[in-house]
């Protein structure tokens, strides 16, 4: 009986596990293997080279630039998106007119394809005729070259990322806010606590599990969201806005060096593993993985 049950469960899992192993676990292992090999071309037989690809990596200035960019990209987008998401959720959950419209406005970027809307943002950012430069000129400021200036390009990408993410994260806060008990707020009112104090003493601490959940997702997105690079900057100027996943794509499909691309992917996998580890350490597992 027990044997039969075992077999049935594994049969049910078979399609899912076959697909997941074939396109997640197996390629992960192959990535590690490929990062230790090299060949003159894609058709030539590859040979084991040990850590040589990693030596290349350490000496590659673009790699370090990309890592730095990705770090700042995460620092620039994660806290801002989270703060905006909390703000949006509080507004939409509170007493404000046109609540439904506002919620719709905040959420819309979530369902719009990043790559297509990037075309619109490209217009916003274009020098002189672009919307941002036109608006700035109206108040007498000479707008910067948003995407062409190496000091501005990464920041311009971040702005679009925040725009894309904040409304999505708002949803999780909105769900969490609706579970908070109104009695707490009545009590706070009786005690004479202002909105600021109420937020920091009651709302924010109670939203902590959601914040951790959103934080993990925002961190993953900081590595994953590179679609807009293809339209806005292509990682330029001179790699000033290049990010790890885009660099992997470039290396594999423009420079056609799948061995070095695999080495870069290993770095990405290590970063994701660190995020997973952080999640296991800090998450209240009882709440989310029941």
């Amino acid at each position: 009986m027990i044997r039969r049950l075992n077999l049935k469960a594994w049969l049910l899992l078979l399609p899912a596990l076959t697909l997941l192993v074939a396109f997640t676990h197996w390629p992960t292992l192959k990535t590690f293997w490929r990062s230790a090999t090299w060949a003159k071309s894609d058709v030539a037989p590859s040979q084991f080279v040990g850590l040589e690809n990693y030596e290349l990596l350490i000496e590659d200035p673009v790699f370090w630039q990309v890592i730095q960019n990705n770090f700042w990209y995460a620092v620039g987008t994660v806290p801002t998106s989270i703060a905006l998401a909390i703000g949006m959720a509080l507004w939409v959950n509170g007493k404000i007119r046109h609540k439904g419209l506002l919620r719709l406005a905040y959420f819309t970027p979530t369902i719009l394809p990043m790559i297509t809307v990037a075309n619109i943002w490209l217009f916003f950012y274009s020098p002189d005729i672009g919307l941002f430069d036109q608006l700035l000129r109206a108040v007498g400021i000479d707008g910067p070259n948003w995407l062409g200036d190496p000091d501005m390009a990464l920041g311009s990408l971040m702005a679009m990322t925040i725009w894309k993410e904040a409304g999505f994260f708002m949803i999780f806060y909105l769900a969490a806010l609706q579970t908070l008990s109104p009695e707490l707020y009545d009590a706070a009112k009786v005690e004479g606590a202002g909105p600021w104090r109420t937020f920091w003493r009651i709302t924010f601490p109670l939203l902590m599990p959601t914040t951790l959940f959103v934080l993990i997702n925002a961190l993953l997105n900081a590595f994953k969201l590179v679609d807009h690079l293809f339209i806005l900057t292509k990682g330029g100027p001179n790699n000033a806005s290049n990010l790890l996943l885009y660099y992997i794509y470039e290396t594999a499909f423009s420079f056609l060096d799948s061995y070095y691309a695999a080495t870069l992917t290993v770095v990405m996998l290590v970063a994701l593993a660190l995020i997973a580890l952080a999640q296991m350490l800090f998450f209240d597992r009882k709440i989310h993985y029941r």
Binding site: P27, G87, A105, F230, L245, A262
Partner: protein, 269 residues
């Protein structure tokens, strides 16, 4: 003090809302007005549908849209099937190695197929599936997120209900199909909407694995269409953008409550 704070807060809320829909508003503005009004805004600007006509003529939107619909449907149908079976096994069956199986599944939540484009491209080319619908779909046909979501839902089905169904003579797949699937309807709806909007918008993997109009989805088509090298103007790009996002946007506007609730539902599991 407090009223000032509230006023400021409300003002920021509306301002943010306007900024958030600005790209969409602009797309509508530019798409429905002649190109000379793409960069200047005037209330007297004449309306036109010309931009849609030229966008439609300049890119095979019809084919792109068909491709996107086929790919999205293929992925969704497979996901619903595969995730139901796996979710049921992980929720209701007691078997040796369950923890291990769950861990294998959850790995994909962290290591998304996007990250593994290099190796997955090699696999797909070994399978001869470059530039096919199946090729675009394959890495996504099983979804860890879907399995996890359904597992959480199936776990809440009372044991008595399952026992009663077994007394009625249901077992195996018919038990899943007749008892568990109908009970999990909100989860299926939530997961479907999330999956559709994800794959309608997915770009990097389809870019890697498609070469021609035969399998290229809208996102990849739009990236080529909107590239500065192709020399189209803002108005036509905006019109193209609206064509590309139109179906999903319309679906979203009609079912916005369900959409938002679905994302919420998917989020708190």
């Amino acid at each position: 003090m407090s009223t000032w704070f509230q006023l400021l807060s409300k003002l920021s809320a509306y301002l943010l809302g306007i900024i958030w829909v600005l790209p969409l508003l602009y797309a509508f503005w530019a798409a429905f007005h002649p190109p000379e009004y793409a960069t200047q805004f005037s209330l007297t600007a004449p309306l036109t549908l010309e931009n849609f006509v030229s966008a439609w003529d300049q890119a095979p939107f019809y084919r792109y849209m068909l491709n996107t619909i086929v790919i999205t449907t293929l992925i969704l149908v497979s996901q619903l099937f595969v995730c139901t079976l796996a979710g049921y096994a992980l929720a209701r069956e007691n078997f040796f190695g369950r923890g291990f199986a769950l861990a294998l599944v959850l790995t994909q939540l962290m290591v998304m197929p996007e990250v593994l484009i290099v190796e997955n491209y090699k696999t797909l080319s070994d399978l001869g599936q470059i530039d096919t619908y199946l090729g675009v779909g394959l890495p996504y046909l099983a979804s860890a997120f879907g399995i996890f979501l359904l597992r959480q839902t199936f776990k809440t089905v009372p044991q008595e209900l399952e026992d009663a169904a077994r007394v009625e003579g249901l077992s195996g797949l018919s038990l899943i199909w007749k008892v568990f699937v109908p009970l999990a309807f909100p989860t299926y709806l939530a997961f479907s909407l999330v999956s559709i909007s994800y794959h309608w918008n997915n770009f990097l993997w389809p870019l890697v694995v498609t070469n021609t109009v035969a399998s290229r989805p809208l996102t990849v088509g739009m990236a080529i269409f909107g590239a500065p090298e192709s020399g189209v103007d803002w108005s036509v790009i905006s019109a193209g953008t609206l064509i590309a996002i139109g179906p999903l946007l319309a679906l979203f506007l009609v079912f916005q409550r369900q959409f938002i609730q679905s994302f919420m539902h998917a989020g708190i599991k």
